[in-house]
């Protein structure tokens, strides 16, 4: 009797092991990052565009939204917050401008632009054949309407926080209700619009809000009810290459070709977008149930070599960092104050940067798909990332030397350093839970610091859940000395929004006059000259590396898995291929 149980159990356990091995490659003993022998990947070796020489046939593509949860279904650029919603939006709506490899707007899209001599005013002309899905032309007033919605006091979304939107002449007056229109936005004629900003800022080229809202379609809905209206949730329209035909809330969306697309007839007959759990995304790809999916990088090693799919990838617009709490946010003055004495000595910060072995972290925990960061502008900004910058590579001896110089010495012989006054020196490290590798990663960093004699303890003795983490960081909880977090940069290279003196998201609370000056120059009128801007940002990257208020730790990769029948799919920001060009070369997806 008992023996029979055992057999059954062992079969079940074996099965579970096999299955978990093929779904989750990170579960293989992540506790000892240094002892793992994993093959190292390099994002530089991934193609950015799929290879397929076949003839395009008329077919429907299935796109997998890799998510544990249903999508929210706020299908509008001005209102969405969740990433899955954005992935749906890309098929049926788009910005008026196309962008180049530096994410700067060009004149190849649905509209053209021209900047005035003082660079403060942009004239936008929408092309004639650009039409909403219901046949109405896209007009200048539609873009104006988008600004009127976002700037309105009843607006429920998050886009008003954008400095480029607030920086428009007359926007503040409109937002506070003093004016009924925005004086800086003028509709010149049906297709032409001008926007005037208070200051010239080169970031308009990468960050201008260029998503019009169909005024004729939405104008009767009160602004505070737009996001919940059926016209956005059930029957959204846009002017993109596909039209929404049907939505099963939270689960899937069916779209069909928009024959009147201004860029020409799309190659695909239709697109189906559906939610796929990350636990089964690889199986779904293998079986051809989905053609394309943003692939979880932690599963890549197990998925490599799958015959019916290709992987394309690029460096993500994001980086991980470790920040030092140097002060607090003064909400009244809207200013950062650097009044925390603990980490003011930059040698201590530099030492902690030298002490950590990010190369091992990247290779052992992320199979090379995350790799050591060298500056705070990631290489996904090829025009501004300083390739020469060395950053901090692992050098424990140098770390020890710096600590000795700064006076942090082990005086009582317990192997841990005391502060320059001879008092016990403990650093409280805040790290976030969530991913499979969160725990080993935090432990690894702590071990690295211990190796150079620093006593680092987790805040409250454990990892913090996402909300508690940001709650403590945002409110400058005195329990926190050092924290490990990440930023998505968006396509605007300007780091002011994360490191400026007057921005709350400067979580390290570091302020410095040179920094103020460089950040100001970086988005000045003069910085429209790319060479000049590059020079300024190189200086800024060097300054940040010298002062290390935050240690850039890892850059990340973004991967897509694509069925072999798909043609013209690209992740290359400089490519002119769009969803209109994507096609399939076989009726049915290839199956492994």
């Amino acid at each position: 009797m008992k023996k029979r149980y055992w057999k059954f159990f062992s079969v079940l356990a074996g099965l579970a092991l096999v299955l978990s091995a093929c779904t989750d490659s990170t579960s293989s003993d992540p506790k000892k990052p240094t002892e793992q022998t994993a093959p190292k990947e390099d994002i530089g070796n991934f193609p950015m565009t799929v290879k397929n020489d076949g003839e395009i046939v008329d077919g429907v593509l299935t796109y997998g939204l890799v998510s544990d949860t249903p999508f929210e279904g706020t299908l509008n650029y001005a209102f969405y917050t969740g990433h899955p919603d954005a992935e749906i939006l890309q098929f049926f709506d788009e910005a008026l401008f196309r962008t180049n490899g530096d994410y700067e707007i060009t004149n190849d899209g649905a509209a053209t632009y021209e900047l005035s001599a003082d660079k403060k005013t942009m004239t936008i002309k929408i092309k004639d054949n650009v039409k909403w899905h219901d046949g109405e032309p896209v007009k200048a007033e539609d873009l104006e309407y988008a600004y009127l919605v976002i700037g309105h006091k009843d607006y429920t979304g998050v886009r008003y926080g954008d400095a480029l939107i607030q920086g428009i002449v007359g926007m503040e007056e409109y937002h506070s209700g003093k004016a009924s229109t925005i004086s800086g936005i003028k509709v010149v004629d049906e297709k032409t619009l001008t926007i005037t900003w208070k200051q010239a800022n080169p970031s308009v080229l990468t960050g201008i809000w260029a998503y019009p809202l169909p005024k004729h379609y939405l104008k009767d809905i009160p602004i505070d009810q737009l996001a919940q209206s059926d016209k956005i949730r059930k029957n959204p329209i846009g002017f993109g290459p596909f039209k929404v035909k049907k939505i099963v809330p939270g689960e899937s969306v069916e779209m069909v070709r928009n024959d009147d697309y201004y860029g020409g007839k799309p190659n695909l007959k239709g697109v189906i977008v559906k939610v796929v759990s990350p636990k089964v995304v690889l199986q779904s790809l293998k079986k051809g149930e989905i053609d394309i999916a943003e692939f979880p990088t932690d599963q890549y090693v197990g998925a490599k070599g799958t015959k019916n799919i290709q992987f394309v990838g690029k460096i993500d617009l994001a980086y991980n960092y470790i920040g030092f709490k140097l002060g607090r946010w003064d909400a009244k003055k809207q200013e950062n104050v650097m009044d925390n004495p603990k980490f003011q000595d930059k040698r201590l910060r530099q030492a902690m940067a030298y002490a950590i072995d990010n190369k091992s972290v990247g290779e052992k925990l992320y199979h090379g798909l995350r790799f050591p960061a060298t500056t705070l502008i990631p290489p996904s900004f090829p025009g501004y990332h300083d390739k020469e910058a060395k950053g901090y590579s692992y050098d424990p001896e140098k770390a020890k030397k710096l600590l000795d110089e700064a006076g942090y010495k082990d005086k009582d012989g317990d192997g841990l350093r005391e502060d320059p006054n001879g008092k016990k020196f403990t650093i409280h490290f805040l790290a976030m839970s969530g991913s499979d590798v969160a725990e080993p990663l935090a432990k690894f960093y702590m071990q690295c610091w211990k190796d150079v004699g620093l006593d680092v303890q987790l805040v409250d003795g454990r990892l913090a859940e996402f909300n508690s983490f940001y709650d403590m960081v945002e409110k400058d909880d005195p329990k926190v000395d050092v924290f490990a977090a990440a930023w998505g940069t968006g396509t605007d290279v300007d780091p002011y929004g994360l490191y400026g003196r007057n921005v709350m998201f400067n979580y390290s609370r570091w302020v410095n006059e040179k920094n103020d000056e460089l950040l100001e120059k970086g988005h000045s009128e003069q910085a429209f000259d790319k060479e000049y801007r590059k020079k300024i940002y190189n200086e800024w990257q060097a300054l940040m590396n010298e002062e290390v208020p935050v240690i850039p730790t890892l850059y990340r990769s973004a991967l897509y898995a694509v069925n072999n029948r798909v043609k013209n799919f690209t992740v290359d920001p400089s490519s002119q291929l769009t969803w209109k060009d994507v096609g399939v070369t076989a009726e049915k997806p290839e199956v492994e």
């Binding site: 926080g161 400095a163 919940q228 069916e254 079986k287």
Partner: protein, 322 residues
């Protein structure tokens, strides 16, 4: 009986009130709010706008003000607005609740369909090989975690054998209302509900088995046997009827479970239901959804226990309530 039910319903009011205060305070005690850390991937935000948004959402008001506003709306049947979904909670729940009820109902039906015959067999032919097999199965199923079992089922029957669709609640390309549409819905339900049902049978099997074994040696059964009643009739008329009592009482509680949903099944099968919504709302501090869900499930639990008592008093004449 009527008096009893009325009294129970009256008692629900203070119970629900206490629950509402508790859940409200607990929800607010979670660190952070819906806007915390929202911006790790959207650096285009400034402190002032964020403060304005908190003000607009009423997050800066004192707790008692927030509570009275919430309870007032609740009494008017308005569950508030989900910040994350930018949608009234009632609309949001309506869509998900239907899916969840369908799935749970399927699981319930399958569970009983599997467990009752097994329980009867194993109780009647106690210690036979069939009994051992059934008891073995029920232990193993009890010990199997749902998230592993559901994955195994999905890989085996969904991906390897291809008998069932592997995710979602319906094939989007089918037209709503057609015959194929409903078949597709049913087809999408089968695998997740089978996964759920196969490992939740243990309670019923064990209960039924031990009840039958207990009843089988009771005096009235012996009397019936002595009178020469055929064995089959003894089981159908005397033993089973008595053994089903606790199972019937179970049913009331099971109804409560109908609206809870299952985080694992929903996530693995990409099935939009309540379980995932609840988890997501807690993670993202979508208070209005969290409080609404807890209130609803609290109410359902109270009703469920009441139903259990009523069912029990109907089927068991010994415990009539006055």
């Amino acid at each position: 009986m009527v008096k009893f039910i009325l009294r129970r319903i009256m008692m629900m009011i203070p119970q629900l009130f206490v629950l509402s205060v508790l859940i409200f305070l607990l929800a607010k005690a979670m660190p952070g709010d819906a806007l915390t850390g929202q911006l790790a991937n959207n650096p285009k935000m400034d402190a002032q706008t964020l403060a304005e948004m908190r003000e607009k959402l009423g997050l800066n008001d004192p707790l008692y003000v927030q509570y009275t506003r919430w309870i007032k709306n609740l009494l008017h049947g308005d569950l508030g607005l989900s910040y994350v979904h930018q949608q009234p909670v009632t609309d949001l729940l309506a869509g998900r609740m239907w899916n969840t009820i369908l799935l749970s109902l399927c699981i319930l039906v399958l569970t009983y369909a599997i467990a009752v015959p097994l329980g009867v067999i194993s109780g009647r032919w106690q210690d036979s090989w069939a009994d051992k097999l059934i008891v073995g199965y029920s232990y193993v199923s009890f010990a199997t975690p749902l998230f592993i079992f559901a994955l195994i089922m999905l890989f085996l029957f969904g991906f390897k054998l291809g008998w069932f669709p592997t995710g979602g609640s319906v094939d989007i390309q089918l037209e709503e209302g057609t015959f194929d549409y409903y078949i597709s819905k049913l087809n999408h339900l089968l695998l997740p509900s089978l996964s759920g049902a196969l490992i939740s049978t243990v309670g019923i099997i064990q209960y039924l088995r031990s009840e039958i074994i207990d009843t089988k040696v009771k005096d009235f059964v012996r009397t019936a046997r002595a009178k020469g009643v055929p064995e089959a009739k003894i089981y159908s008329r005397h033993i089973l009827r008595n053994s089903f009592l606790p199972i019937a009482a179970f049913l009331g509680y099971e109804i409560t479970g109908l609206i809870g949903g299952s985080v694992f099944l929903e996530s693995i099968f990409s099935y939009p239901g309540i379980g995932q919504l609840f988890l997501q709302s807690i993670m993202q501090r979508d208070y209005s959804v969290v409080t609404a869900l807890v209130m609803i499930s609290g109410l359902a639990t109270l009703i469920g226990t009441l139903l259990s008592d009523i069912i029990l008093s109907v089927v068991d004449p010994r415990i009539r309530i006055d």
